[in-house]
Symmetry: none
DNA sequence: ATTGACATTTGCCATTTGGCGAATTAGAAT
DNA sequence: ATTCTAATTCGCCAAATGGCAAATGTCAAT
């Protein structure tokens, strides 16, 4: 049995105990077998993202909260869920561009992206030839 | 060869091509083997959270963004481009399209629209000649 | 102490993940 | 077409995941 330093398991168990729930009850509400849950709590198994997602709400965690605790998300990323209006990453999508594109079907929209990619590919080839 | 509906793989590949990167280059910067990355892209494997996390930044995704796309987080939890694009007129702007385009400068975005208009003009002329 | 009812842990196994190296395919440059 | 090179896919394998059922542990109430 991997003797790794196990924070996640202790946190999960702590939360389960304080609710309080038994492993079987948590298993019932989360659709994860109690044996697997037990092994996760004592650090013998590491939960996949699917499993984490299933047990988050029954334990009263926000999804991103558990993911952060599991080390899947870095702390700063989560808990924001705000502003987000038109910014993707740092850049913005020009409102006029958005409006015009939105009038096309999804297929056309995707095709446009395809064309853009092709152009960039060609451009790359040209710059490669220059070096 | 699971014939599952594979959005994630296509999105990842699309993003990789757009950057552009080869599988091997992405493998180098993400520390995930190229063969595994390839299988993920064509839906033969499903990436674990660890893998997803490793490839997020090299691909220019926010961590929670990729997790949401993978179905590990529900859309509302994270700050991803999701139906935040709402409706322009009656139609919607595909979130993925919006995201890709937003990574380009405003000039490029406008140029893309220009190309689209040109194509539509050409198409119109062709159909006119047929009638 | 013994029984009974639950809760937890363990043994075992099927399935999946992910890496390495070989084979195949795709692109360039003759 | 041919050859050379880089990129992708395939075959195989070790390790990990997660479920089921049996074993073990815990704790009341006899």
């Amino acid at each position: 049995m991997p003797r790794v330093n196990n924070d996640l398991g202790r946190i999960i168990k702590q939360q389960r105990i304080t609710i309080p729930l038994t492993l079987q009850e948590l298993a019932a509400t989360s659709s994860v077998s109690s044996s697997h849950l037990g092994r996760i709590e004592r650090g013998e198994r590491f939960p996949s993202a699917h499993i984490l997602r299933r047990i988050a709400k029954p334990l009263g965690f926000d999804e991103d909260e558990l993911f952060t605790l599991a080390g899947f998300l870095s702390p700063q990323t989560s808990g924001v869920a705000e502003e987000k209006s038109a910014t993707y990453g740092n850049r913005r999508l020009d409102p006029y561009v958005a409006k015009v594109l939105a009038e096309e079907s999804i297929e056309i929209q995707r095709a446009v992206i395809g064309i853009l990619n092709t152009i960039k590919l060609v451009a790359k080839g040209m710059s490669k030839g220059n070096e």
